[in-house]
C-alpha cells in the first residue's frame, strides 16, 4: 500500500499563487466599482443599470456582486466540434491546452516566392488547408484577411474560404453584428440547423474591448448576439503595458481582467449560462520601436499569469503563442515561438492562438506555422511528464541486462521507445553525411518544402455540393446588399 502517494501527471508552469490571484481579481473588482467602464451602446447600458450598476452617461460602475454572480452563472467548460463529423474534439476546461492560428494579418509570405504580399481570400483558403493538414493544430483562425472582396462584407467570404478548407473548429472575426449573423447562418448550414449548431458548436466569435476600460458598439452588439445565440465567444482585451494599461505586470493584469470581467457581466446578463471564453492578449509596448510586442518575455509571463487567474476563476481561457516580432522566419522567430509555446503548453490556457504570426502580428508565414507545429509536438511531449510505476521503473529488465549490457534488444525497449519518445518530422537529427547528401538544408528550407508539398497534395474533407451552394448564396446575398 502507498499511503498518500502524490504523482504529477504532467509538468506545469505557474506564476501566481492563489493568494496573488485573489488579490488581482479583487483589484479588478475594485476598478469596476470605483472607475467603471465606458459602454458605447445604450441598450447594454440599460441592461446593466437594471441589474444594479451605477450609470453616469456612458460610464458604468459595476458592483462586485454582479461579477460574482456572472462567475457563478457562466459555464466552466466549452466544447468545440469538427464541422464534418460533429465529433466533440476540443474540451476547453482545466489545463487542456489546444493550439491554433491567429486571424486578420494584412500580409502573408508567399511560400513560392518568399515575397510579403497583401493577404486575400485565396491565401486564407490555402492557409486553412495547411492548418487542416497539420496534426498539432487543433483549431483555425483565418491567418490573413480577405482584401480582394468588398470590404464591408469581407467576413462572409473569409468564413466561406475557411470552412471549405478545414473541418477543424473555427474562431471567426466579423465586421459587425450583421456580418456575424450571416456567419452564424452559414455555420448553421454546415452543422445542419440551428439546434445542431447549439448542441455541437463549430465556431467561436472573437471580439475585443478597447483598452483601457471601454466597450465599443460593434464589439458589444456582437458579444450580445453571441450570448443570445449561445455561440461561444472569446472576449479578449489586447493591452499594451505602459501604453493602454499600467507598465507594471500586476497593474496590466488587473486592468485587462477588469475589461474581461465587465464583458462577462454583460454577457451573462444578456443570457444566463451562455458560453464565454476569457481572453487576454496581454503584452508590452516596446518603448523604442513602438510595436505591440508578440515576442517579449513579459508577454509569455503575463499570459501564463492570466492562465493562473483563469484556473482560479474556473473560466476557459484564450491564450497566445507561436508568434514573433521577427520580419522573417529566422533564429529569432524560432526562439520566440519555442519559448511561448512551451510556456503556454505548461501554463494551460485552453485556446492558444496566433501560431504562425511574424512581424508583430502583421504577417502570416506558413513556414513559421509548420515549424510551430513541430514545436507544439515537442512541448506536448514535455507536458506529458514522466510516468513512474514498476513497469516504467524497469528494475527487472535492468537486473536481466546487468552491468555492461545494452537495452537495444529487450522486449521492454521495443514496447516503450515509441510511446516514451517523441519523433520529429522537421527537426533534423541526421548524421552529418546524410544531412549533407540530402542537400544541407536549414530548418526554414525544410519547412518551406513541407508547406509546398501540403499545398500541392493535401485535400481537406469536402462539404456536400448542396451545403457549398447554400453557403455561396449567403455570401452573394451580403455582397449584393453591399453594392446597393
Amino acid at each position: 500500500m502507498k499511503s498518500g502517494y502524490v504523482a504529477n501527471r504532467s509538468t506545469r508552469f505557474s506564476v501566481l499563487s492563489d493568494d496573488q490571484c485573489r488579490e488581482i481579481v479583487s483589484a479588478s473588482k475594485e476598478i469596476l466599482e470605483r472607475t467603471g467602464v465606458k459602454i458605447f451602446y445604450q441598450e447594454a447600458v440599460e441592461i446593466l443599470r437594471k441589474a444594479g450598476c451605477s450609470v453616469d452617461g456612458e460610464q458604468v460602475r459595476i458592483p462586485s456582486r454582479l461579477v460574482d454572480q456572472a462567475l457563478r452563472m457562466v459555464p466552466k467548460r466549452v466544447t468545440l466540434c469538427n464541422s464534418r463529423t460533429g465529433e466533440r474534439v476540443m474540451h476547453l476546461e482545466g489545463y487542456n491546452a489546444y493550439f491554433g492560428t491567429g486571424s486578420d494579418t494584412p500580409f502573408y509570405i508567399d511560400p513560392y516566392t518568399g515575397e510579403r504580399r497583401p493577404s486575400s481570400t485565396q491565401s486564407v483558403g490555402n492557409n486553412c488547408r495547411v492548418i487542416d493538414a497539420l496534426p498539432n493544430l487543433d483549431f483555425v483562425m483565418s491567418l490573413g484577411i480577405s482584401q480582394d472582396v468588398p470590404q464591408p462584407v469581407y467576413d462572409r467570404y473569409q468564413y466561406e474560404a475557411m470552412v471549405l478548407n478545414t473541418s477543424k473548429p473555427i474562431v471567426v472575426t466579423a465586421n459587425d453584428a450583421q456580418g456575424f449573423a450571416d456567419i452564424i447562418e452559414m455555420a448553421e448550414i454546415v452543422a445542419g440547423g440551428p439546434e445542431k449548431l447549439r448542441r455541437n458548436p463549430l465556431i467561436v466569435l472573437y471580439a475585443e474591448p478597447i483598452s483601457p476600460l471601454q466597450h465599443s458598439m460593434e464589439s458589444i452588439t456582437k458579444l450580445m448576439m453571441a450570448a443570445n445565440k449561445e455561440v461561444p465567444v472569446v472576449y479578449t482585451p489586447c493591452v499594451m503595458a505602459g501604453a493602454t494599461v499600467p507598465a507594471t505586470m500586476a497593474g496590466t493584469l488587473a486592468c485587462g481582467l477588469a475589461e474581461s470581467l465587465s464583458g462577462l457581466v454583460l454577457h451573462q446578463l444578456t443570457k444566463e449560462g451562455a458560453p464565454f471564453i476569457m481572453g487576454g492578449v496581454f503584452t508590452i509596448m516596446d518603448m523604442q520601436s513602438t510595436i505591440f510586442s508578440y515576442g517579449a518575455p513579459e508577454f509569455h509571463l503575463l499570459e501564463a499569469a492570466l492562465a493562473d487567474i483563469a484556473h482560479y476563476l474556473n473560466l476557459p481561457m484564450f491564450g497566445t503563442c507561436g508568434c514573433s516580432d521577427s520580419k522573417v522566419v529566422d533564429e529569432q522567430a524560432g526562439i520566440e515561438a519555442a519559448m511561448s509555446i512551451l510556456l503556454m503548453a505548461q501554463a494551460g490556457p485552453n485556446l492558444n492562438h496566433d501560431v504562425g504570426y511574424i512581424e508583430y502580428g502583421s504577417t502570416a508565414s506558413l513556414e513559421m506555422l509548420v515549424i510551430c507545429d513541430e514545436i507544439i509536438g515537442m512541448a506536448r511531449r514535455i507536458v506529458r511528464g514522466i510516468e513512474v510505476n514498476p513497469e516504467t521503473l524497469a528494475v527487472d529488465v535492468i537486473d536481466q541486462v546487468g552491468p555492461g549490457g545494452h537495452f537495444l534488444k529487450t522486449a521492454h525497449t521495443r514496447k516503450f521507445f515509441k510511446t516514451e519518445t517523441w519523433y520529429p518530422t522537421l527537426i533534423d537529427r541526421k548524421i552529418y553525411a546524410n544531412w549533407k547528401s540530402d542537400g544541407s538544408k536549414t530548418l526554414t528550407q525544410r519547412a518551406n518544402e513541407k508547406v509546398i508539398s501540403i499545398l500541392e497534395s493535401y485535400q481537406p474533407e469536402q462539404l456536400s455540393p448542396d451545403v457549398k451552394q447554400k453557403l455561396r448564396a449567403v455570401v452573394e446575398r451580403a455582397a449584393s446588399k453591399c453594392q446597393k
Binding site: P118, Q151, P152, N175, I210, G242, A243, Q288, T290, F292
Partner: protein, 218 residues
C-alpha cells in the same frame, strides 16, 4: 543667460508639464524675453530629447511627456511671442491628425502626434473614427498645412482614399498636403490614392512633414 532658461530646458527634458507651465508664467510675470525663453529653454529641451530618442537613449514615454511639457509652456507664451512680432515659436507647420471613420486604433496616431509636436509642429488631433468631412472642417478652421490620416485596418484604409477624393470634390485638393499611415498601408497605397506622402513609422512621419512644409514654402 537667464537661469530660468536652463530650468525650462530641464523641465521639458524631465517631461514635467506643471513645472514647464509655471516657468512660462514666471517668464511672463517677470517680463523676461518670451522669444528667448522659447529658443533657449523650450526648443533646447525638446531638441535634446529628440536627439536622445534617435540614439535610443530616450524612450517613448520620455518623448511623449516632453512633448506635453513643451505644449504646456508654448500655449502660455504664444500670445506674448506673437505680440513681440517675432516668428519664433510659430509652429513649423499646422497639422490636422486623426484616425479615419470606422477605425478606433489610436495609439500609433497618438505617437505620431507627440513626435510631431516635439518637432515643433502644431498638431490638431481630432481623435478616432473621423469622416473626411471632419478632417476638412478642422483643417479649414485652423488653416492647416497638412492633413494626416491614420488607418490600422484593411477595412478602413478605403477611408483614406475617400479623404483625398473628398478634397478633390470640394476643389480643395491643392490647399492641403495629405499624408497617410498605419499598419496595413504601404507606399504603393499612398501613390494609388493620390496622397502626398506615406510613412511607416512616427519618425519617418516627422521627416515627411518637414519635407512637405519646405515644399509648401518653396
Amino acid at each position: 543667460m537667464n537661469q530660468v532658461f536652463e530650468e525650462i530646458k530641464q523641465a521639458v527634458i524631465d517631461g514635467d508639464d506643471e513645472l514647464a507651465a509655471e516657468l512660462a508664467q514666471k517668464v511672463l510675470d517677470e517680463g523676461i524675453n518670451p522669444v528667448e525663453a522659447v529658443q533657449e529653454g523650450f526648443i533646447k529641451g525638446i531638441d535634446e530629447i529628440g536627439t536622445k530618442w534617435k540614439s535610443g537613449e530616450a524612450f517613448l514615454p520620455d518623448v511623449m511627456m516632453a512633448a506635453d511639457a513643451l505644449k504646456a509652456g508654448l500655449t502660455l507664451l504664444e500670445p506674448a511671442v506673437a505680440e513681440s512680432g517675432s516668428q519664433e515659436g510659430e509652429p513649423v507647420g499646422r497639422i490636422v491628425l486623426g484616425t479615419v471613420a470606422g477605425d478606433i486604433h489610436d495609439i500609433g496616431k497618438n505617437i505620431v502626434g507627440a513626435l510631431l509636436t516635439a518637432a515643433g509642429f502644431k498638431v490638431y488631433d481630432i481623435d478616432i473614427d473621423q469622416s473626411a468631412q471632419s478632417f476638412l472642417a478642422k483643417a479649414e478652421e485652423v488653416g492647416a498645412d497638412i492633413i494626416a490620416a491614420s488607418a490600422l485596418l484593411t477595412t478602413t484604409m478605403g477611408e483614406q482614399k475617400e479623404l483625398v477624393k473628398y478634397l478633390v470634390e470640394k476643389n480643395l485638393r491643392d490647399q492641403y498636403r495629405v499624408i497617410i499611415g498605419g499598419g496595413p498601408t504601404t507606399k504603393e497605397w499612398g501613390d494609388e490614392i493620390g496622397a502626398d506622402g506615406w510613412a511607416e513609422t512616427a519618425d519617418q512621419a516627422v521627416e515627411l512633414c518637414k519635407e512637405l512644409v519646405l515644399d509648401i514654402k518653396r
